[in-house]
Structures are given as C-alpha cells and as structure tokens.
Symmetry: C2
Subunit: 252 residues, 2 copies
C-alpha cells in the first residue's frame, strides 16, 4: 500500500526465536507491515507472521561495518516515503545489542515517525530454558548483559572488569571467543570453578545446553554451533545440571 504521506517505521523486537514469544503488539505490527527489513538471524517462523509484507534481509546483528549500517538507515528512510507501515525487525529486543540508536537518529533526522516495540531478550529465554533464575535471594542481585565483540573503529572496552563485578553475567555473541573470555576473567580473579551455562538457540525446539566452568570454557572451541549462543556465568548456575539435556550432562 503506497501513499503520498510518509509512513511510520517500527523498530520491533523479534524475541529470542520461538514465534509465540513475539509480543501481541509485535505480531499485530508485523501482520500489518508493508515491508520488513530483518536481521539474518530472525527465525523464519517469526518472519512468517508478516504475511503480506515484502521481507528483506539486511545482515546480522553484529560485525557489520558502518557503511552497511548507513545503507540500512537510508533504506529505512526511503521505505517510509513509499509505504505506510515499515518494520525493522531485530533479534531479541531492539535496545539491547541491536544497533537501534543509529537507525533512530537517522529516522528522526529525516522527520519520520518512529516507534520502538520491545521484545524478550535472549538471556531471559535462556534462563527459562535452563530453569534457573538470573537473580536469587542471598546469591545474586545484579545481572550484567555484555558483549566482547568490537565493531569496526570501536575501541576495545574492559568488559571483563564489568563481568567480574556482577553477580550474574550473560555474554552475547561470545561463543567464538570462549578461550579469550575464560583467560580474561581468570586474570580478573574469577575462580576456575565458576559455573558457566552455555545455551544455543534459546527458546527453540533445537535448543542445546551445556554446563561447564570458567576453567573448562575453552573446550567450547570443539563445538560446532548452529545458532546464536549465550554464555551465562555465575553461582546461580551451580545447580543447573538437573534441568540439563543429555549433551549438557555429559559435559558437566
């Protein structure tokens, strides 16, 4: 549907993967969308909710350089001139590791109406899969979400110091750097025995889980991961074994 007046752009959280973990609002906006620009990682079942929209993959959530981001910004602005409902669909929640700010700024600069629809972030789906609360009375009252990934032109930050100070930590986009993560946190004084839960494809039927320790984390390099992976660290995961699948028990 095309009109002369500019359309509205929705930055929508696709949730962790399972289509029924979309919010009601996200599902309504997707069903109404004329065009959807989505991360490559968004699950096909979620995309299928946008039944009448043109669907355009615009890359992954991380590791894209700024030229590509500027290109996405321009496509969103152009689409709002042609369509009534434009959706930018991001894995998890748009405001957490979603590069939303650059798109929000570009859309506002172009005078385009924009709305953010929050979503379930992967860490919370992973906690549900594990059956382990990220906070726990007397054991954990702080939870940090962090990524060691550095974009082009970004300075490395001291993510390890942040993780070391929190009771529970969830590391996004870190599976490929398990050895470096282990070394950095051991150097920060975290114990080798610190429980680490690893969750691949949180919320999906093909979800896989492992329980390991900070000292043994480099062993993850032997795994062939097939989907997004989170590393969850903290004493709350010490009892997580009873909820594990077979692969997870073998490793524990």
């Amino acid at each position: 549907m095309k009109r002369n007046a500019p359309g509205k752009v929705y930055l929508v959280g696709a949730g962790p993967g399972a289509a029924d973990l979309l919010t009601l609002r996200a599902a309504r906006v997707l069903a109404d969308a004329d065009v959807v620009f989505h991360d490559a990682l968004v699950h096909p079942d979620v995309l299928a909710v946008a039944s009448r929209a043109e669907r355009i993959a615009v890359g992954k959530r991380c590791g894209k350089h700024s030229t590509a981001q500027r290109f996405i910004n321009k496509r969103l602005v152009d689409a709002a001139a042609k369509h009534r409902v434009v959706v930018r669909l991001k894995g998890g929640d748009p405001m957490l590791f979603g590069r939303a700010q650059e798109e929000l700024d570009a859309l506002r600069a172009a005078g385009i109406d924009v709305e953010v629809v929050p979503g379930v972030t992967a860490a919370l789906a992973a906690a549900a899969d594990l059956g382990v609360s990220l906070t726990r009375r007397g054991l954990s009252r702080s939870v940090v979400f962090v990524t060691p990934r550095v974009g082009d032109g970004e300075q490395p930050n001291d993510w390890a110091a942040t993780v070391a100070r929190a009771d529970t930590a969830v590391i996004y986009m870190g599976a490929g750097e398990a050895a470096a993560i282990s070394a950095a946190l051991l150097a920060r004084g975290k114990p080798s025995s610190l429980p680490v839960a690893v969750v691949e494809n949180a919320s999906l039927p093909e979800s896989r889980r492992w329980l390991t320790t900070l000292g043994a984390l480099p062993g993850l390099a032997d795994e062939a991961f097939r989907g997004p992976v989170l590393l969850l660290l903290g004493e709350v995961f010490a009892g997580a074994g009873r909820e594990a699948d077979e692969a997870y028990r073998r490793r524990a």
Copy 2:
C-alpha cells in the same frame, strides 16, 4: 476444571504493564488458566486476559519476608493438585527480580511439572519509551540490572560497585532510595553530571519520564510516584531530552 492428575504450573512474565506487551505464549497460557496467582503490581488489563481463571493476588515483587514466600510456594503446590493449568504471574520477566527460584525449587521438590514463560522486562520497555538504546556503538557495550533492595535476612551487597563498572545501569525498585543511590555512586567516583533517566509506569499511557543527573537525583524524593519506577544511568541518556514529555523537560 479439576482432575485427579496433578496440574502444571507456569511461571509467566506479565511484561512491563501494557497488555499487548504480553507474549503470544503468555496470553495463550493465561486464557487457558484455571487459577492465576499474581503480583499486586500486575496491571488489571493483563489480568483480564485470564478471563476464565480465579485470580488471587499474592503480594508485591519485593520486600516480602520468607514466611510469605513459603506460603506462596505452598499455595502453588496445593493448586497443582486441584487444577490443570496454574499460572504464577510476575511483573516483567520471572527470572529477573521475580523470586522465581524459590518457587521453582518448591514445585520441583513436590514433583510438579513447571514451565517458565519469559517476558519483556521493564528496563527494555523504559528504553523504548525514552527512545534511547541501552547499548550504543562506541559508548556502551554493557548493561547491568540491579536492585539495592535487601530482603529480610539478606546481607547488603555492593551494588554500587557493580553499577560503577557498567556502561549503562538500570536500577529496579530504587526510587525510594534515590538520595542513598546518588551518594553511593558519587562515592564510587561517578561524576555528578552523569545523566539519569527516570521512568515511571513504563509502557503504560500514564508513563512519566524525567531526565536528571546523578548529582540532582536526591530531588526525586519530592515526587509522588504512582507506579513502578526505574532509574536508568549512563552517557547514552545524555541526548534523551528530545524525546521527553513536558515534566521531563521542566526538570532537565
């Protein structure tokens, strides 16, 4: 509907407030529920989704002592013996400041089938309301969720050290302690000019937002809050004024 076989208990995230920020799965489970035990803070519009269920308020998310928690645990176990679908409905996400672990442990100890349905946590709805991403290229790659609230019998923890090390911090259940929070973080070396966004009733039509600074935060004591309040701290909020409502601009 009552059966002889024990029922299943769902720990369900009610999301931040707006009923259409429930997940599709949460809405389905609520619609199917025989009985719902809910936090007092859960919005009536969300409860209304559980149209055929008996609805029982079982207190707020924080500040309840352990006797009350044990009583909730027992009621959940008892309900699973009488009903097919029992829902424990918690504000936001069950695994983040939701006291879920105590209930999960009690239900498992009683041999009851239990499933966690994740939800949109209030911090992400607040970021959407503010139009500010919690992470930002070159500025923020870590976000900590923390509460300074201490339960009965719990040792105070050093939440301020955790907040001081993160790029962005969201403080849950802290509005009543704004002066103490400001003092603790200033003592940790955070600058008086650090931007702080305050969001009351995130995601609801009656949501209110203020922009202030760490140094001016004690002024919050003058506000009469009418709903749940989050404090969001970090450089990412420096430009948040343009998205603010009138009250927010007056204060900025």
